[in-house]
Symmetry: D2
Subunit: 350 residues, 4 copies
């Protein structure tokens, strides 16, 4: 349980930070869909550590090898499997984690859950490295969505104390504002780390996607997005600010636009009753600060039950938010594509 997502488009992710390879299997991809490997590589590089200042010094080429499900650049319709080799791994860096858990990581919970048999190196299956297969699968989903005129784009709206107050701009791969980079660099210099807020917008969605109650777009996007390590909150449209608003302010009134029904505002983030209403779906994610910091923290030796202190060295990001932007797009795209495929079955008889 855990590493599988989707109802029609089923994604199964595997691997550990320091296993021979990580990867995924995608079942339910429509046949005959073109996969542009070059664009997929560009998308995945946005997540890759090497392209980010203030990022981990672990170098991974993150080159994807397709094992099945693709023929002449098109999906066959049968399971598409891909792997990414872990080339630059150093088990010794994490040799002591198995007894002294790093605060804020899953070292402790993973050990309890798997009765001590989990792979502790680099967080094992809990590592942020597992977002590479997530981005590979999501990058494929994005390519399919684009053919339907659906665009998924995320940006950073806050890092630490710095907020971006600019208008929303529907464009992917926007550069991180200088002020935010400075904020990150400052935290790194202190041996500390930062979190932030990401906003993801999905434009061009038709109305009618999603299901009531437990399988609304809010439910399924949440299920996908909380797979990104460090995400601790999600809101749609005006989200938590809705708690302070009145109904007359929060409701999105209807209007007619170019002969089609539309809305005068988008406080609901494009979703009513779990179902898309034709407005952009707007999602915001809270990302906690990277738990790996070199500052001394109190921990416990799980074998001896003695309190001790730990300073996390090794290679890690002072702020993962810039890299998580790509992950957010990937996770949202997977949820949306699955909803679109499900929607097909409803058209039966219509």
């Amino acid at each position: 349980m855990g590493s599988t997502f989707g109802k029609i488009l089923k994604l199964s992710i595997f691997g550990e930070s320091h296993s021979p390879a990580i990867g995924g299997v995608m079942e339910g991809l429509p046949s005959g869909s073109t996969i542009d490997s070059d664009r997929l590589h560009v998308f995945m590089q946005r997540r890759a550590p090497s392209t980010h200042v203030s990022s981990t010094t672990r170098m991974e080429s993150d080159s994807v090898e397709f094992l099945s499900g693709v023929l002449n650049g098109k999906t066959t319709g049968t399971p598409l499997a891909f792997i990414i080799r872990n080339s630059d791994f150093r088990r010794e860096d994490y040799s002591d984690i198995s007894s002294v858990p790093r605060p804020g990581h899953a070292d402790y919970t993973g050990k309890i859950k798997y009765y001590g048999y989990n792979d502790p190196s680099g967080g094992g299956h809990f590592s942020g490295r597992l977002t590479a297969p997530l981005c590979c699968a999501g990058g494929i989903a994005i390519q399919l969505l684009e053919k339907e005129g659906i665009r998924v784009s995320a940006r950073i709206v806050r890092i630490g104390a710095v907020t971006d107050v600019s208008e929303f701009c529907e464009e992917s791969a926007q550069p991180v504002p200088i002020k935010m980079l400075d904020e990150i660099e400052k935290a790194r210099a202190e041996g500390d780390s930062l979190g932030g807020i990401i906003e993801c917008s999905i434009n061009g969605l038709p109305a009618g996607l999603g299901d009531p109650m437990f399988d609304g777009l809010e439910n399924t996007i949440s299920q996908a997005v909380f797979a990104i390590p460090g995400v601790k909150g999600i809101e749609f449209g005006d989200g938590f600010r809705l708690a302070e608003m009145k109904g007359s302010q929060a409701n999105d009134a209807f209007c007619v636009n170019d002969g089609r029904i539309s809305h005068l505002s988008n406080h609901a983030g494009g979703i009513n009753g779990g179902i898309s209403n034709g407005m952009p779906v707007v999602v915001r994610l809270a990302v906690k600060p990277t738990p790996s910091i070199s500052l001394l923290q109190q921990s416990v030796n799980m074998d001896t039950l003695e309190e001790t202190s730990i300073s996390v060295h090794g290679r890690h990001d002072a702020c993962i938010v810039p890299r998580a932007v790509t992950c957010a797009e990937a996770a949202c795209a997977l949820a949306i594509l699955d909803a679109i495929l499900l929607r097909r079955s409803e058209a039966y008889g219509h």
Copy 2:
């Protein structure tokens, strides 16, 4: 799709606001579990409209009839089905919704999704009334959890501009503070409505519950909680405030307490890597203002595509937050009980 939740404990909810009955089927409940009908009734009455000031005047006894799966007050282990008859329904109140959708409701999205065949009366399957079977199922889950020493309790921390700054108190069924009731009454008098924030705490959980990536506690609690109409945001632990914190502030350091590993703080809300760490699981939900307001709003006649205005009369709450508190407890309990049942299979060989 949509109205089914859970992996081991599967809940299927059915009904419409004005169908003959609403109800649910619970599959996977362990056999031999005692169901205290009286306490279940008390729990469900906390959600029921009649018990809330400023609430809808629709009167429903919400009495549960068990159809199967219970024998001599104990679960048989086979599917437990229950229904709640809809006694006080008035289809005429909603006769015009099918052409003029109410802003903020699922009238429009439901019509698109179901190609015009959905039941529009009172929102049909999207009605808040469907939280009655959710609370019935959740109330049963709560009774099972209590036997494991797990307590689920929610309270209101904000309604409109009024916030509750008191310490967290682990007690269910706390009365709504007077100031909040006044705030609601004021909005009602204006023909308007209010939203708020609910905090739910799950205490007594063992460490090790939940799965990595897509089936962590955050993912599954979110899937359950977004089934409550009006919820537009969720956060765990310090949630969105984590975006402003540094790693050194956000990490929960380990300590030894009474010979057991514990944490010095709970910024993570009891969850690391999707898995419970033994601290209370703390969830906060943003609930939007009730969309039903008597103030005039702009809408569109879906048949003629002409803009028009609508004032929502009928019976509705000026603020559903007080009733949603019970729903939050129910939804969280279902997610947690399912995680506990799943956990059993992992103990294989240990």
Copy 3:
């Protein structure tokens, strides 16, 4: 787990032989589908005991009450729930089953599985009575399939020593041949019972339905059909006779018929690689003799662990095969309709 079937069209069945009601919830039915209640009633009556000679004397009107999901005779698209009240139940008939299990029934396995908390009366959830909701759901599925030109029809090809050697006739609701009725009557007079073989044919299917490996039509039809109590074998096309044939005899050669690709024979029963090939899907089921017989059988008192003997009185069929014919059609129809709905998602982009 257990009483839920389907991927897009999800059916959840509940109830016990002597619970207040039995029923089902169907999720994923396309909206706007007409349900002809009269024809559904006729279909269900084919299963009902009252209409069969040599059948149980338990009288049940089996009238279906729709609780949700139907409006003006058409599906709304949201969960369709229905119940059938158990009117004629007599718990006392089965008072001793809880300690002395009936051979061939699930009394013993049910008690073990549910740790003694299962409802033993009439077999509880394992009762053949649970095929009433199966037939209700399947009858609805058949009505939808008919609109696509797909016909599901089953007949008895063997009861005890009597076989039907007539040509296949694609017609539903064929009368049971007199010789078979005589055979049943003879067994009943001896206090014994009989089994038989049912053949079900699904005509008018397009090629391309079903999925490879674990979700082929053979896999999913089997999953549906083994839900009928007493079914102990299933075969497709020539089935077990294929073991005696050579490849040159067993292969279905291709031909062109009216400008379309077809086959010269149908040894494969319309399925290759789990996927329909356009020929009729032919399924044969082995049904064991009714385990309830009045002849003395050896059993064990589960409380005292003493061997004892049991003669099963109460009301039961000397041969359930005539009634199981309808169940076979229902189960097959559910599997096929689900495959058709799944197929829609594959058409994405084509």
Copy 4:
């Protein structure tokens, strides 16, 4: 859809006959389970072509590479992924299949299903080669079952006209009787092929495994076993012979054996109401003759819609039954292990 199996133990299989690799992902394996790679290799070699007389001349070492989920020879509890490289593949052998389908294969149905985008070489994802990952996963399951004292063993009971009338012998890896090998050799010499019947017995199962209705052991074993290409029928216990028996002959009377409840016979094949009764679970499979034969067969050119003839050369088995024996054990073991893991959740509170 299609290549995924299991509820707790989820297996996802991928690959094509001539893709770079085939493999699988197993999620839900209990942590800390020892995997004996040498014994797994021996198990898989029983399926491998090289070890069978009269088998395909395609040589594959079938060596398994574990990519994740195993550490120091034990499962970590997180997804276990493995691949098997396709070394000896020759796409040219199948260059004409894409237009002229081989009778009895999935060439035609695969092309329809995937709109012509499937990989036709060697049957692509429908190839018998995909049973290699099935056997790898099943071989792992068998090792876990053995620790519980559960043994899965299959043997051939019929090939063509030759039947094995010997007593059941609970032993895995029994040699194929000489008479059967002669029968196969004779068919091969004629350019033809043979099918047969495999019997699989699962010994040492506790009573209480499996679920009612759609998830009984019969349903789930069927779902697993029909994943083996060529299986066209399945029966449990006396299966189709039960159709000719009377209740007094077919029922398994209870007895007390060594102070424990047992049965005097096993006509039901160890399953009542879908649930194991403590007797050996006995499954028999009908396997059709290998469709690949060199004798001329009629087919159709799918591009030109002209009838033509085809003689299937390339490398293939004259009878796959000897190799399918291992696959049957693997498929049954996966279904049983999943049922055992599910059973754990039922023990809640007991």
